[in-house]
Structures are given as structure tokens and as C-alpha cells.
């Protein structure tokens, strides 16, 4: 058969297509599982198991009135929803899916993802600012504060992994987990990263920027039609990126657990990678179904008073042990 090579045209097309398709399908998966977890059935009318609900939603969104409020800053208003999906797709590019599968292989892959996640906060910020609406402004204010504070210890929490792998390249990090997953030595780092990842992708219970109960969808109050759709798709892509990053950093990436490898490394790698990522996607949905949204001051104090010390101690102890073992 043909061999995959990182960065080949086929690779780019497959990764982009699969990433977008999975992100879009998450609309249906999320609603279906939220249904199951609240003793309902979820969307099950359109097509087998309701799988074409995605198409119905897309058609609805495309044909909605695309309204730009007259009081808004038009250029920024149109620009804001584009940033999130573009930036998140760029973050998707450095994810190593399997040996030979991936769009690009940066030697600063991890930093690249953080840079992109940092840029994504502009989407929230500009969207709320350009809407010229008090609730939107509140939402974007919350979003900005949350992103800035949670990005701090999101970065610190994975430094432990970087110390252990001695590399910022995601492929090297995966390769160095051949003998043991980093979730064992970096358990606290994993916990902090999970929480921060939820906060970064605005997932429940950290959806304070768009909490519909208090500030009516926050920064995307004024958005309608496909502009709102872009925000939504961007959020789902962010969720997929987070779910892919979780196995790459802590659960051995494409390596099979307990030596359950089969077929070629490519097939086995893709299989295990999707199993692990799928597990985390479902976990994110479960978190949305189960946990309640904290107050904003609780969110902030939890971040700075619990998560930051935890990640710092984790980093300190990891560094000390690595130095001690090096002699």
C-alpha cells in the first residue's frame, strides 16, 4: 500500500477532513449523550440514530438571517467568529495521530498549541467588544480573565511532561511514553491540565463567558446564523484538540496499552489514538452533563489558590526528581 508521510498533501487533506468531520459530528454526539445522561433519548428522528441531525442543523444555520447589528463595529464583528475555528484548526495541525500521520512536525509543537489557544481568546474578546452590547461585553470580559488566568497554570502543568520527555516536540513526547504513560508520574499535572483544558475550550462547567442563564450567551448574544455557527464549530474543534492532546501528553498517544498492538503500526496507532481521544470527548460531555457552573469569583480563586500552587509543586517535585536521578 501507499505510505504516509508527515506533511504530504494526502495527509493534510485527511487530517483536515477528519478533524472537521469529527468536530461537526460532535454536535450530534454531544446532544445524544447529554440526552442519555439525563434519561432522555436525544435527537433520534433524522436518519439512522438521528445521525443526520448534523445536516439539519447546518441547513438551519446557513439559512438563518445573518444579521449584523447596526450599532456594532462591523469589521471586527465579522472578523471575530473567523478567528476561533482557524486558530483551532492550526492547533490541530501539530497533533501527531500515528506514526507518519500529521500535518506538520514542529520542534516547538507544544508551544505552538499554546500560542494558538492564546490567540483563540481574541475571538471571545473581539466578539464581545464589537457587539457593543453590555452582556456581550461582560461575557468577553469574563472570557478574557478566565483564559489569561487558566492559561498560566495550563502551561505550568505540562512542563512536567516536557521535563520528562526532554522535548517540546509532540512526536518525541509520544515516543518517550513507549514504556510508560506520563499519567502515572504526572498525575497532578494531568488533573490540572484537564481542568485548564476545559476552561480553555469554554466547555462546561467553565462556560462563564457564555453562561446563558446569567448573561444570555455572553459574547455571542448578537451573533446569528453562520457567524454563531462558526463560534460553535470553533468550540467543538477546540474540544477535539483538547481530547487529542490529552492522550498525546499523558496517555501514550498512539501506543497501545498492555501491548495490544495489531496490524501495521499505522492502523494500530490510528485505532488506539481514536479510542483514547473518543474516551476524552465522552468525558468532556459527561462533565457537561454532570457538573454545575461555579460562580465567577469561585472560578478565579480556585484557579489561583488551588490549581496554580498544585501545578507549581508538581513542577518543582518533578524537576527535583529528574535532577536527582541525573546525579
Amino acid at each position: 500500500m501507499f505510505s504516509f508521510e508527515v506533511g504530504s498533501l494526502l495527509n493534510i487533506a485527511v487530517v483536515l477532513g477528519a478533524g472537521l468531520a469529527v468536530s461537526v459530528m460532535m454536535i450530534w454526539v454531544e446532544r445524544r449523550f447529554l440526552g442519555f445522561w439525563s434519561d432522555r433519548l436525544g435527537p433520534n428522528r433524522v436518519g439512522p440514530f438521528g445521525i443526520f441531525q448534523v445536516i439539519a442543523d447546518a441547513i438551519k444555520m446557513l439559512f438563518k438571517e445573518d444579521w449584523i447589528p447596526p450599532f456594532s463595529d462591523k469589521f471586527t464583528f465579522v472578523l471575530a467568529p473567523m478567528i476561533l475555528p482557524i486558530v483551532m484548526l492550526m492547533a490541530l495541525a501539530v497533533i501527531p495521530f500515528a506514526p507518519g500521520v500529521g500535518v506538520m512536525d514542529l520542534n516547538i509543537g507544544l508551544l505552538w498549541i499554546f500560542a494558538m489557544a492564546g490567540l483563540a481568546s481574541y475571538s471571545t474578546m473581539l466578539g464581545g467588544l464589537a457587539s457593543n452590547n453590555k452582556f456581550s461585553l461582560l461575557g468577553s470580559l469574563r472570557g478574557t480573565g478566565q483564559m489569561i488566568s487558566y492559561e498560566v497554570f495550563m502551561g505550568i502543568s505540562i512542563l512536567g511532561v516536557v521535563i520528562l520527555a526532554d522535548s517540546f516536540t509532540l512526536r518525541d513526547i509520544v515516543e518517550s511514553q513507549r514504556d510508560g504513560w506520563y499519567v502515572v508520574p504526572q498525575f497532578f499535572g494531568f488533573i490540572v491540565f484537564t481542568v485548564a483544558g476545559l476552561a480553555e475550550s469554554h466547555r462546561w462547567p467553565f462556560d462563564l463567558p457564555e453562561s446563558e442563564a446569567e448573561i444570555i450567551s455572553g459574547y455571542n448574544t448578537e451573533y446569528s446564523g453562520m457567524k454563531f455557527g462558526l463560534f460553535m464549530i470553533g468550540e467543538y474543534i477546540a474540544m477535539v484538540v483538547m481530547a487529542l492532546l490529552m492522550p498525546v501528553l499523558f496517555f501514550g498517544g498512539w501506543h497501545a496499552p498492555f501491548g495490544l498492538e495489531f496490524g501495521t503500526p499505522l492502523i494500530s496507532g490510528l485505532f488506539w489514538m481514536s479510542v483514547k481521544a473518543g474516551f476524552f470527548l465522552l468525558f468532556f460531555i459527561l462533565v457537561r452533563a454532570a457538573l454545575v457552573r461555579p460562580r465567577y469569583d469561585q472560578l478565579m480563586s480556585y484557579g489561583w489558590l488551588v490549581m496554580l500552587p498544585l501545578s507549581l509543586i508538581n513542577l518543582l517535585v518533578t524537576g527535583a526528581i529528574v535532577l536527582y536521578q541525573a546525579g
Binding site: 449523550f33 440526552g35 442519555f36 445522561w37 439525563s38 434519561d39 432522555r40 433519548l41 459527561l286 462533565v287 452533563a289 454532570a290 457538573l291 488551588v306
Partner: protein
């Protein structure tokens, strides 16, 4: 310090328990009733779509007394009385505007002849508003509804063709008042 850490651990533990308990709902049967596929059991006394019934002889029960129209709190019933060659009263037209009807059942309670009855049919949506207005030919059914044996003219004292005064059930023949004179 240790107290604070203990408190945090307690909080995190409670979140984990919540996650687990919600996860277990995956294996529970959903409460959803898939309505158009699974029809619900409708109780016989459910107050739904209004029908006009016939008596056991197959004649219209309605005598156009207008009591239902008077009892109706939203004035959705309109009818006009007329008489046939036998002297039976019946409505010339009988119109119910179902877009106004609130299914209170007062018309059924007011009806002296059990003609107007509410049925368990609740699927009353229409695409055109005018289709919500039902005439007599739409509502008149070929049965007796909930009361099978009742026939107003058999028990009422009114004389109609084929049944004179004093021939109804439990009715004495009319008294000749002049013969009672002292």
C-alpha cells in the same frame, strides 16, 4: 493548611461522585415516550375533540336548545334551530370554532340530550386557520357516544310525528282539565 487541603479533597471527591452517578444514567431506560410512534393511552373521559352524537334510532340527538352555546365560556359554539315535518327540533347549522375552544366540557354538562360530547381525540392541529372551524357534518358521528340507551324524544313529553302526547316512557296520558271540574 491541612484543613484547607482536606476541604479541597472533599470538594473534588464530591465532583467525582457526581460524575459517576450521572454516568450510571447511561444504563437507565429513558423516560421519553416516542409519541407519534407510541400512542399514549387516552382515558375515555378525556376532554378532547367535540362530537355530535345520534340517538339509538340513528336520529340526531341535538334539539338546538342553545344551552351549550350559553354555557360556553369562550362563545365558540354557534347554531340555529329549525324543525322538520315531524316536529322534531334540530340545528340548521352547528358550528364550533376549535381555535377558540378550551375543552372545558361545560357544553357537555349543559346538554340535556347527551348530544354534544367530548372525545379522547387530542390531535387537532391544522395548517390553515379556517380548518379549525368545524360544521355539523364534520362533527356528527354515526353512534351514540358515551350514552348508548338514551333517546330524548322517548322520554320527553313533546309530541312529534309518530308519538303523541302521553305516549312517552313514564308519562301518563294527558288529563282533560274540563272533566276535573266539580
Amino acid at each position: 493548611m491541612f484543613k484547607a487541603i482536606g476541604k479541597q479533597i472533599k470538594i473534588i471527591w464530591s465532583q467525582i461522585v457526581t460524575l459517576w452517578l450521572v454516568f450510571l444514567h447511561l444504563f437507565k431506560k429513558a423516560d421519553t415516550v416516542e409519541y407519534p410512534d407510541v400512542q399514549p393511552y387516552m382515558f375515555p373521559r378525556w376532554r378532547g375533540r367535540i362530537v355530535l352524537t345520534r340517538d339509538p334510532d340513528g336520529e340526531e340527538r341535538c334539539v338546538a336548545c342553545n344551552l351549550c352555546a350559553v354555557a360556553c365560556p369562550v362563545d365558540c359554539i354557534a347554531l340555529q334551530k329549525t324543525e322538520d315535518e315531524n316536529g322534531r327540533w334540530y340545528p340548521e347549522f352547528f358550528r364550533i370554532n376549535f381555535s377558540r375552544c378550551i375543552m372545558c366540557g361545560f357544553c357537555e354538562e349543559a346538554c340535556p340530550t347527551h348530544a354534544i360530547q367530548l372525545t379522547p381525540d387530542f390531535e387537532m392541529a391544522e395548517y390553515v386557520r379556517q380548518d379549525m372551524v368545524w360544521e355539523k357534518e364534520h362533527m356528527l358521528i354515526n353512534g351514540t357516544g358515551k350514552y348508548h340507551d338514551y333517546n330524548f324524544y322517548r322520554v320527553a313529553g313533546k309530541a312529534i310525528g309518530g308519538k303523541g302526547k302521553g305516549e312517552a316512557r313514564n308519562e301518563l296520558p294527558p288529563v282533560d282539565r274540563r272533566s276535573l271540574l266539580p
